[in-house]
């Protein structure tokens, strides 16, 4: 299983960068714009990555059966696609 550590690690880096940007933006008529833009960019990009990473951290298999059927990969590997794909038909992942 993946680790939750990168979330905190990059979180800390992003926070540090935001502080750095806040302190180091050169003075000038566009200081506020540059500072806000950079800080918000860091925050939003981190958020989106974090959400995506966390969502895939512990795939909900077992009860929720998020099962992958990847015919193309199978075909590429020269394996004839098994015929027992009926078992996934009625499956609907329970969404929380």
């Amino acid at each position: 299983m993946g680790s939750i550590f990168p979330v905190f690690f990059f979180g800390a880096i992003v926070v540090a960068l935001m502080f750095g940007v806040a302190l180091l933006t050169p003075k000038g008529p566009n200081q506020a714009v540059i500072r806000t833009a950079l800080m918000l960019t860091l925050a939003t990009c981190y958020l989106l990555w974090m959400i995506t990473y966390l969502a895939q951290l512990h795939p909900l298999i077992g009860e929720c059966c998020l099962v992958l059927v990847f015919w193309k990969t199978m075909a590429e590997r020269g394996v004839s696609s098994p015929s027992q794909n009926g078992q996934e038909q009625g499956m609907s992942g329970r969404m929380s």
């Binding site: 299983m1 993946g2 680790s3 939750i4 990168p6 003075k27 000038g28 008529p29 566009n30 200081q31 506020a32 714009v33 806000t36 833009a37 918000l40 960019t41 939003t44 990009c45 958020l47 989106l48 990555w49 959400i51 995506t52 990473y53 966390l54 969502a55 895939q56 951290l57 512990h58 795939p59 909900l60 298999i61 077992g62 009860e63 929720c64 998020l66 099962v67 992958l68 059927v69 990847f70 015919w71 193309k72 990969t73 199978m74 590997r77 394996v79 696609s81 098994p82 027992q84 794909n85 996934e88 499956m91 609907s92 992942g93 329970r94 969404m95 929380s96």
Partner: protein, 828 residues
Amino acid sequence: MADEYPSLFRSESMSLVQLFVPTEVAHDTVAELGELGDVQFKDLNPNVNPFQRSFVGEIRRVDEMARRVRFFMNQVEKEKDVVPIRPLSDCAPLITVGPRAAQTMDELEVKLAQHEQRLVKMNDSYQTLSERTRELIEAKHVLEGTAVFFEKARAQREDIRTSFEDLSTPLLHEDRENLVSTTNLTFDLEFIAGAIERSRIPIFERVLWRVLRGNLYMNYSDIPNPITDPVTGAEIYKNVFIIFAHGDVVLGKIRKVAESMGATLYPIDANADKRSAALREVVSRLEDLEAVLYQTGLNRRSELVTIGESLQCWQDVVKKEKMIYETLNLFNYDVRRKTLIAEGWVPTRDITNIQLALRDATEQSGTSVPPILHELRTHQIPPTYHRTNKFTEGFQSILDNYGICRYQEVNPGLFAIITFPFLFAVMFGDIGHGFIIFSAAVYMILAEKKLQKQSLGEITGQFFFGRYIILLMGAFSIYTGLIYNDIFSKTLHIWHSGWSFLPTSSVGEPNGRTYPFGIDPAWHGADNALVFTNSYKMKMSVILGVIHMTFALCLQVPNHIKFKRPVDIYANFIPQMIFLQSIFGYLVLCILYKWTVDWSSASTDPPSLLNMLIAMFLQPGQVDHQLYPGQKHVQVLLLLLAAICVPWMLITKPYIIWKETRKIHGQGYIGLQGEEVPRESSDETLEGEEEGNGRAILESEDEEHHDFSEVVIHQVIHTIEFCLGGISHTASYLRLWALSLAHAQLSEVLWSMTIGGYLHPTTLGGVIGLILQGSLWLSLTIGGLCLMEGMSAFLHAVRLHWVEANSKHFEGGGHAFTPLSFANSDRE
């Protein structure tokens, strides 16, 4: 001055200034300030109608000049061969300030009048000449056309003659002689010839038939070339007609009918020689006329070219002069002292610049009496002025379209620079589509200077105005595309997937890795990919929405501190924050927590968070599937907190205000209602004495009276709005989920419907199919997905900013700063 540099965070601090401008320098001062574009003048004579103002005469004169310039513009535009208009940047500037200004204007006026006179005269003569040419051309055609008729008639007669000489019919000779004499008679019939519009021929014929009861013989033929109407320039097809009839009465009737139908009649002689003589004459006159006409046209054109050289310059000068005099009309004119008094708003930090400009104006006009500027204290609310540049302008205008900020309140436009493209990109995430709009924006920015000069259409102009918004939207779309792992509905496989596919199984098995950046490409093409992306994007939109709303709510605080309203912090902001966080903040935490738990090794089932949230309200204290130990108590506590916040918001503020008013009343103060008489600006004597003491001439006392009942009602509405809004706005952020899913699905469908099946062509037909399908796919990608889908994502992002975020902190109700500026006048 609080800050060293202007910032977009709050609007500029403004000052109300008063200017005393000596009449001699008034014009030049306003011209200089108009170039500077930094002063918004107030109307000091609101009760005076436009015709009674001081500079009506000048305005009328400038209007007359403007009319002439417009006339020239019309003439130049109507000319078929394009007359070159020299752009303003190439013209020698016409200096309308300084001691020689009056003379320049007089000269310009005379020049314009002369040009107009000449042009009108030339137009007139050109028109008369063209009219005569047209008549002659018609006459020529009529002569030629009728000649054909006569010719035909003679040929028939010859026919008849030859048949007479046929010896086989000697017995009827005498009769035939008579017949010939009757045919000879037809030539004695009088006739009328002329030209008429082709479409009217049938009506004309029918009317004549009815009027004359069939006693006529009419013949007509087409004129092959169209005839140009000199007035309208339209091309008309006409027919030549000739009508034979007998008797003056009948002929008179025909003439009348012909005239009423718009036909032109020409005198034609029955004698062939005379006709050909007339034709010769007409042709020679036509040649002469055409030569004259050509000469006149040439003269007119050279006149227009001369006008075209300085037309833009005149237009500019006239427009500026009009603006200057209209501004001067806003000033208070003191006849006795020969000064004009102006009042206006200026950004406080620009006062020095304005004073410099005033000094320049004095020097330029060559007088020694400078205009005097001093600041006034006022209770009026200054206009809102955000100093934007070409980058921030677009973002600011998106937010300004919703409402103008209150003076010096936190400007959401600053944060929209990033949050707007980001929310857009969440809905539009695709590397390919993002790249397309990104490169379009890059092109517009690189060709900025060129595009700025030429006038774009309305829609293209809009895109050009928003080029920096589009740039950021494209950049963020590329990033979200990387996260969604979508490039034109295909996928990138950069890192090791978290799923392994064993040859023996159709089901992917997790292999213990987590895809480090973005969505695992293994999901692409999986049967249950939608199940995963659905859940992922729905949760993502809730998380982003709650964070965005929390952020927007926090923007209240600087406002409350700035306007010194501590009550609002602990009677509005704190309970609102607790309310939002105890319900939706908790939901977000639960979502994040649930993701971090490895449910495969946990002892319990993963709970459904939506059911958990509903159960939190409906059955407090009961938890079906426990997410974490002690969940029951935490949820009850949070529910209680949220419940307490409602009366907190509802009651605190009105109670504090009520207590304060009671305290004030208790100290014996009474409101000054009825004693506040607005100062009348018409009271000139009083005004004259008070000018110096720093009060504004026009001071409307529109301070709000805080009625207690109003405060209560306002607070009740505010509370209800916030509590219901918290729920509906969170739901509203689900549009991020819906639109991003829709976008991904649409691009996938487009791919498989068009290019998908043609990718590996084996035959020539397959290659052609691939090219056709590929171009169809490309045009639909650009037109449908990038433009239409982009537009819809744009509108949804706009809505999220206007409604969901702005309702948390935005007060609005300001009025925009509209300075007198010559540069801005072009945009209108």
